[in-house]
Symmetry: C2
Subunit: 438 residues, 2 copies
C-alpha cells in the first residue's frame, strides 16, 4: 500500500435543503465514496448567508460554516454551488474555476441564461462543469443525453420537468376541479410555493428546456429563446375536452429539430398540450417528472423519477461530484459542452404542431363549411371533426364542433383560430390546445 493521497477538498455554497442533504450524504457515505473515487472527499467549508444559525443536525464541525464564499472557493478542488439565481452564483463559479476548481451546480436559471460563458471558463481553466441536478432533479437525463446518446442523433425531447404543474394538472384531471382551487390545494400540500409564478407560468420549465435543447442539439439555446406558455389558461373544460379525446393535459417542455426551407432549426418551447393516454408520458402522475427522448438509432426512450426535493436533488449533485472527483484522480477531463452544430432557434410561429379546437357554434347549416374554409385558407388540414348538439340550460340547442388538425406551423394554426373567433356562426372558441406525442 502506498501512502494515501491527500483528500479532495470540497466546498459547498448554500446551506439550504439540498445543501443539507448533500452534506449528510457526503458524511454518511464517506467510506463508500472513497472506494468509488479512489480518494477521500473532505468538506473544507460550507458557505451560508447568515452565520449563527444552528446546524448541529448536520453533524459537521461548526467551524466549517462561513459567510465568506469568495474566500472559500479559492481553497477547494471541487465547488458545489447550491445558492441558485444568477448572482452571486455566477461570480463565485467563475472565481472557483479561475482558482482551478471543478464545479458542480444545480443552478438551472444560471445555466439556461449564461451556460455558454460558464462552459467557456471551464474549458479555459481546464476544469469540469457538471449540472445534472439542474434538470428533472434525481432523474439521470443530462448524462444520458450527453454521453449515452453521444453516438446517436436526437430528434426530439419532450419533458414533464416541473413537478408542481404536473401535480396540479393531474389533480385537475382526477377531480375535475378548476385551476386556482387546485393550485391552492397544491400549496397546502407543499407541492406549490407560496408564490407559484415560476412554476405555473412555465419559467422553471423554460430554463430546463433551454438546457435540454443545448445538450441534445449541440447548440446554444438560452431561456430567452424558449417560447413559454404556463398553465394559467388551462381550465376544467380543457381537461374535459382532453378526456373526451382519450388524452390528458400536461405542461411539456419540447425541444425538437425542425426542417424548414432554410435548413434545420430548433424549436424550444414550453406549453400545455394534450397527449394521448397511450403515450408513456401520460402515466406520469402527481409531482413526478419524466423526459421522453426520440433518437434516430435508439428510438423512443423515457426517463422517469422525482424532479425535486432535497435528497433526490442531492443524489444528482453527488453523482456529478463523484464524476468530477474521478477525473481529478485519473486525469483527463469530463466531456464539456459542445455547440458545434450551432443550429438556429426558430420562432414559435415556425414550430410544427397540431391543434385541438372546440367551438361553440350556431346550430344551422353552412357553419361547418364556413369553419372548414378558414382552415383551408391557411393550408391547415383537418384530421377529425366531431359535431355535438346539446341542449343548454335554457333549453336551446347548442352545437359544438371539435376539430383536430394535422400538423401545420403554429403561425398558420393560431391565425386560423383568431379568424374562427371572428366568424358570425362561432359563438365562442371554448378550448384551444396543442396536441403532442402522437
Amino acid at each position: 500500500m502506498t501512502t494515501p493521497a491527500a483528500p479532495l477538498r470540497v466546498a459547498l455554497l448554500g446551506g439550504g435543503t439540498v445543501g443539507g442533504s448533500v452534506t449528510r450524504m457526503l458524511l454518511e457515505q464517506a467510506d463508500d465514496l472513497e472506494q468509488r473515487i479512489g480518494r477521500r472527499l473532505e468538506i473544507v467549508g460550507i458557505a451560508v448567508r447568515r452565520a449563527g444559525r444552528d446546524r448541529s443536525d448536520l453533524g459537521v464541525d461548526p467551524s466549517l460554516f462561513t459567510t465568506d464564499a469568495q474566500e472559500l472557493v479559492t481553497r477547494a478542488d471541487i465547488v458545489v454551488e447550491l445558492i441558485g439565481g444568477i448572482e452571486p452564483a455566477r461570480g463565485l463559479i467563475l472565481r472557483a474555476m479561475e482558482h482551478g476548481a471543478s464545479v458542480v451546480t444545480a443552478n438551472k436559471a444560471l445555466l439556461a441564461e449564461d451556460g455558454a460563458s460558464l462552459h467557456t471558463a471551464a474549458a479555459e481553466h481546464g476544469v469540469d462543469l457538471y449540472y445534472e441536478a439542474s434538470v428533472a432533479g434525481a432523474i439521470p437525463i443530462l448524462r444520458p443525453i450527453r454521453d449515452s446518446l453521444a453516438g446517436d442523433s436526437i430528434n426530439r425531447v419532450i419533458g414533464i420537468v416541473n413537478g408542481t404543474t404536473n401535480f396540479v394538472l393531474d389533480a385537475m384531471d382526477t377531480t375535475g376541479a378548476g385551476l386556482f382551487e387546485t393550485v391552492e390545494r397544491a400549496q397546502a400540500l407543499g407541492y406549490a410555493e407560496a408564490d407559484p409564478t415560476a412554476d405555473v407560468e412555465g419559467f422553471d420549465a423554460a430554463a430546463k428546456a433551454a438546457i435540454l435543447s443545448s445538450l441534445a442539439f449541440h447548440s446554444r439555446v438560452s431561456t430567452e429563446d424558449v417560447h413559454r406558455e404556463g398553465i394559467t389558461g388551462v381550465g376544467a373544460r380543457d381537461i374535459q375536452a382532453a378526456q373526451d379525446m382519450g388524452c390528458t393535459v400536461k405542461l411539456l417542455a419540447i425541444c425538437e429539430k425542425v426542417a424548414t426551407a432554410d435548413g434545420t432549426g430548433i424549436s424550444a418551447r414550453v406549453h400545455p398540450a394534450m397527449i394521448p393516454l397511450t403515450h408513456p408520458l401520460a402515466s406520469v402522475r402527481e409531482a413526478y417528472n419524466a423526459v421522453f427522448v426520440e433518437a434516430e438509432g435508439a428510438g423512443d426512450l423515457m426517463f422517469y423519477g422525482q424532479g425535486a426535493g432535497g435528497d433526490p436533488t442531492a443524489s444528482a449533485v453527488l453523482g456529478d461530484l463523484v464524476a468530477v472527483a474521478r477525473t481529478r484522480v485519473t486525469g483527463g477531463r469530463g466531456p464539456g459542452a459542445s455547440s458545434y452544430a450551432n443550429l438556429p432557434v426558430l420562432s414559435m410561429g415556425q414550430a410544427v404542431t397540431r391543434y385541438h379546437v372546440s367551438l361553440d357554434v350556431e346550430d344551422r347549416s353552412g357553419v361547418l363549411a364556413a369553419v372548414a374554409t378558414k382552415f383551408s385558407e391557411h393550408d391547415v388540414s383537418i384530421e377529425t371533426v366531431r359535431q355535438q348538439v346539446v341542449t343548454d340550460d335554457d333549453g336551446a340547442p347548442r352545437a359544438t364542433l371539435i376539430i383536430v388538425t394535422h400538423a401545420a406551423t403554429d403561425a398558420a394554426l393560431s391565425a386560423t383560430v383568431d379568424e374562427l373567433a371572428q366568424l358570425d356562426a362561432v359563438n365562442e372558441v371554448t378550448s384551444v390546445m396543442r396536441v403532442e406525442g402522437s
Copy 2:
C-alpha cells in the same frame, strides 16, 4: 488551427445486424462524431466469419473485411466486439487490451460469466471497457447506475430486460391465450427466435441481472449466482389470477440488497411475478424493456425504451465508443468496475418476497383453518384471503382460496406451498406466483 491529429482506429468484430447498424451510423455521422470527440474515427477493419459475402449495402471499402480477427485487434485504438458468446470473444478482447486498445462490447453472456477477468485486464493495461449495450439495448442504464447514481446507495433494481418474454406475457394478458400458442405467434411476428429457450427460460435475463447486480452493489455477481425461473410455468390461469388481483405478470430481473442475520447480502434472481397495475413497470407493453431503480437518495427511477434491435443496440454501442474515444483524446480513464463492497450473493431461499397462492379446496368447514395453520407453522403472515365458491362443469360446488402473504423468506414460502399441496382438503394448488413492486 493545428494539424489534425491522426484518426482513432476502430476495429469492428462481427458483421451481423448490430455490426451493420454500427458501421452505417459511424459513416453517416462521421462529421458529427468528430466534432463530439475532437478526433476523427476511422474504421480500420471489420472481422467477419466468412469472407466473400456481399456487404456492399454498408458502403464501406470491401478491403476492410477480414476473417483474421486475431490480427485486426492488434492494430486498433478501440475494438468493438459484437460476436457474442464466450469464445473467441473473450480471447479477442483480452488480446485487444494487451495491445493497448479500449473495448466496447454488447456481450452480456461474457460480461455476466467472466466480467471480473475482463475488468482486471482493462485495469492492468490502462484501457477502458464499456458495455452499455449488453443490458436493455438502447436504454441508458449501466452508465446511470455507474455514474449518475455513483453518489447514492441503490437498494433495488427491478428490470424487464427481455423483450421476447415481455411481448409474450403482454399478449397473454391481452388475449387470454396460453403460453405456447403465444410463443408461436411471437415467433411468427419476429419477436421470438426459432429456438426461444434463452429468452423463455430466463437465461438472457439472468445474464443481465448479474451485470446489473455487480454494478449496482459494487460486488461480483456472475450468471451462476442468479436464481433463474423462466415463463414456461406461466399459464392462462396465472394471468387471470393476476388480473383478478389488479396485477399483471412480468418476467422480472430483480437485484436487491437484503439484510440477513449475517449482514447484508445480494439477492439476484429472475422469475415471473405479479406486479400491481399502478406500478410503472406494469405499463411496459409489447417488446419494450424498462429498468426500475430504487435508491436511497434519488427515490424511484425508471428507464424505458427498446431492449433489442440493430439500430437501438448500435446507439448504445456508439455512445460507449464516443466515451472511450473521448478519454483517448483528453487522457485519463473512464470509471472501471468497482467490487469493493464484495457483498455475498444469497440463495433463493434467503430472498424475501411475497406469494400469491390460489388453491382449489373442498367446500367444507375447517379448510381455511387447516390452510392458515400451514402458513403460521412457517411463520408466514397472511395479508389477504379471499374465498370464492363457484359451480364446476358437473354442477358441484368448488371453493377457491386466494391468499396473498406478507413478505417472508422464499424458503418459508415455498415450504408452505409444498405442504399445502399435501393437505387432504386441498384438491389442487392452481396458481403460485411471487408478488413484487408493492
